[in-house]
């Protein structure tokens, strides 16, 4: 199958990239149109004659958009750090140690990752409400664990499996305990894997919508996906601002994807390929 790509192939690739990127391109071009060009006769022109950054200014001044970004950042970071931390212990034990019930635990982790979020929503909502944790960061961090923890354990087990056993044996012969082996030998080698896991967990937490929508309803604690979705009023939709906000959210993700694409792909595909 390995053959040189012909010119036709490149033409096809350009078309493919254009189709995939078209929504982003259009949204970006719309975000710098004045509202007269967004609607009306010029709505379908590619470029506006008078590009403007008014929409961007409005997003940050007329909406608590910065607050949404900060909320998303805080919730996703804390969720990521603590779940990857806990998942790494669990994954290490599953990948490297001998004990009974491993398959059951892995099966449990896998099934939890398949749980529909709606099935846990009503009890979690009621519990958080009774504890007074709705409209707080912790109120989102707790339920996000159901999403990020199984994912992290899953990816990390695969990563830990790939670290050669010889190193551990050597540490054992030198008299290191399990925890010493973990911190001194395994952990440094697992850093790339942990990092990959962290990226995926962060994206998963950043993009979550259902819990964010129900638990944090006050503007002070709304996350970005919910915040942008709620830009639309009952009768009017401020498309200019929405386009600008979308661009603002997308750019960091594009940079992240460009920088970490190899890691993301290796994390996404871990477990689906037997090497």
């Amino acid at each position: 199958m390995e053959k040189k790509a012909g010119p036709l192939f490149y033409v096809f690739m350009v078309i493919f990239v254009f189709i995939v990127m078209f929504p982003f391109i259009w949204i970006f071009l719309s975000s710098i149109k004045p509202s007269s060009d967004l609607f009306g006769d010029n709505a379908f022109d590619w470029f506006s004659d008078e590009p403007t950054f008014k929409n961007y200014v409005s997003v940050f001044t007329n909406y608590p958009f910065l607050k949404y970004l900060w909320n998303s950042f805080v919730v996703s970071s804390i969720t990521t750090i603590y779940t990857v931390f806990i998942a790494s212990f669990c994954a290490y034990a599953i990948a490297r140690m001998q004990f009974r019930g491993k398959t059951v635990i892995l099966g449990l982790v896998l099934s939890v990752s398949m749980f529909p979020q709606i099935a846990t929503l009503s009890p979690i909502y009621i519990i958080l409400k009774n504890l007074g944790l709705t409209n707080s960061y912790i109120g989102l961090i707790i339920p996000y664990t159901t999403i990020t923890l199984p994912l992290s354990i899953w990816i990390l087990v695969v990563f830990f499996r790939k670290i050669p056993h010889d190193l551990e044996e050597a540490a054992k012969i030198d008299g290191a305990t399990h925890m010493q082996t973990y911190w001194k030998v395994i952990f440094p080698l697992a850093v790339p894997g942990l990092f990959t896991t962290a990226i995926l967990a962060f994206i998963a937490a950043w993009n979550e919508f259902l819990f964010a929508l129900t638990i944090n309803t006050s503007d002070n604690y709304k996350t970005v996906p919910v915040g942008i979705a709620m830009f639309q009023g009952q009768y009017t939709i401020p498309w200019g601002e929405i386009c600008a906000a979308t661009v603002v959210v997308t750019i960091p993700l594009v940079i992240m994807v460009l920088v970490f694409q190899k890691r993301i792909v290796s994390g996404l595909t871990s477990g689906s390929v037997k090497e």
Binding site: F16, L38, T103, I105, G107, L121, L149, H178, C243, K274
Partner: protein, 437 residues
């Protein structure tokens, strides 16, 4: 792994450490995932409505809310004492009778509520609020029923008396007596009633059908396109990294944001994609895209295909890359056609990747929520309402948590059923090698 199976005995210390390491993750999963699902099922057996104080919590038995009770009872008895003093003749004896009835009820409640009665009374006298666990106390069916019937009677009698004669504090007495009607919580356990209702509801079935239709069509298109893309880019070419990044971006952005983007592109007046479709003759009218039933479903599926085909393509590409090239070389020496090579080498070697991709995509598509919630809200005329959307609406718009929980349990059962089919086909291939014996 060879080194593992060579060890005949499991080291005891290692075992203990292993359980210690696994414990935090397991406890979290049990508390935050398993327990809520069971709780959802439990809620679904009750008539639970958050906007109705009588039904805001699950009650297996009759309960009395002592805090509410002390709001009314002591003042009513005091007022009645005053009234008795002021009244005369038959009226006086009637009022006296009422007061005695109420005091009788109080005796029963005091007996059933035990020490909580005194505790809540003291808290109430200090003008503080007791906790619900202290204040809401189980009482016997007999006490509850006699309370309800007596209070009903007392209310009627007081109204009659106040109609016939003047009472000193007419408004207070009647208001307090009326308030006592609300202090008893009836058991709201209704068994499988919600399920019976939902299984009869045409809205539930149509939302289930929408979900199944959406899942099958979108996953099928995504799979075919994803496989084609993976086969195409599985070769060395200039700019491969760029393609990979391009493909990852739709996957990485929040679904809610991508749904909003598409909503703009689909807009009935100024949406460029709607314009494009109507110009190539796919639509009669630009506005038909989001306002017609078929158009809305088509839009939702198109957005989903755009967002998740890349994910499938990447999974399949990873699978393609580990197929040994020698297989293809041998096959072409034997004179096998490209198609033969595809069906006899590529597909069987790719089986695991395909099944894993299909499993995760199917489950994701089946529980779809944010895409549809933002793009169409389930409309028009519920034509894109999936079962998760319906469950959410029942819970949070109608605040009917019992019925909503029943619906979410139905989603759970469907998802469990789908994954069981896949797991049966995949078997232990799904678990990382380490766990296999």
């Amino acid at each position: 792994m060879a080194t593992d199976s060579n060890k005949p005995k499991i080291d005891k210390c290692e075992k203990r450490t292993a359980y210690l390491l696994v414990a935090p993750a397991l406890i979290l999963i049990l508390v935050i995932a398993i327990y809520p699902v069971l709780q959802s099922f439990y809620f679904s057996l009750f008539d639970l409505r958050l906007n109705d104080p009588q039904k805001a919590d699950v009650h297996l038995n009759y309960n009395v809310d002592l805090e509410q009770y002390f709001y009314y009872y002591p003042f009513l008895v005091d007022d009645l004492t005053e009234e008795v003093k002021a009244a005369n003749g038959t009226e006086r004896s009637r009022l006296k009778k009422i007061k005695q009835n109420l005091q009788g009820l109080d005796q029963n409640i005091r007996k059933d509520a035990k020490e909580n009665y005194q505790k809540v009374k003291e808290i109430h006298q200090n003008f503080e609020s007791p906790s619900t666990s202290l204040s809401v106390v189980k009482i016997s069916d007999k006490t509850a029923k006699s309370f309800q019937s007596t209070i009903e009677k007392v209310n009627k009698q007081l109204k009659q008396i106040s109609n016939d004669n003047e009472l000193k504090n007419e408004k207070d007495v009647i208001g307090l007596a009326n308030g006592l009607k609300g202090v008893i919580f009836e058991p709201n356990y209704i068994g499988f009633h919600h399920y019976a209702e939902e299984l009869k509801s045409s809205r539930m079935w149509s939302s289930l059908w929408n979900t199944v239709f959406f899942t099958i069509v979108s996953v099928f298109i995504e799979f075919v396109l994803g496989l084609a893309i993976a086969l195409l880019i599985n070769k060395a070419f200039f700019g491969r990294g760029l393609i990979r990044a391009t493909v990852l971006i739709p996957w990485a952005i929040p679904t809610a944001v991508s749904a909003l983007m598409w909503k703009f592109l689909y807009d009935g007046q100024y949406g460029v994609v709607a314009k494009f479709f109507s110009e190539i003759g796919l639509l009669d009218h630009m506005s038909a895209l989001l306002s017609s039933k078929a158009g809305a479903m088509f839009s939702v599926i198109l957005s989903d295909v755009w967002k998740t085909t890349p994910y499938i393509a990447l999974l399949l590409l990873a699978g393609l890359q580990v197929i040994p090239k020698s297989l293809y070389e041998a096959a072409s020496i034997d004179g096998a056609s490209k198609w033969k090579q595809f069906t006899n080498i590529t597909l069987p070697m790719l089986k695991l990747s395909i099944l894993v991709a299909l499993l995760f995509r199917t489950l994701d598509a089946f529980r779809v929520f944010d895409l549809i919630y933002v793009l169409t809200g389930g409309g028009p005329a519920n034509s894109t309402e999936t079962i998760s959307i319906l469950a959410y609406k029942v819970m949070f718009s109608q605040t009917n948590f019992g019925a909503g929980s029943a619906l979410s349990v139905i989603v759970f059962i469907c998802v469990a059923f789908i994954s069981m089919i896949f797991v049966k086909v995949l078997g232990s291939d799904l678990l990382p090698e380490s766990s296999k014996k």
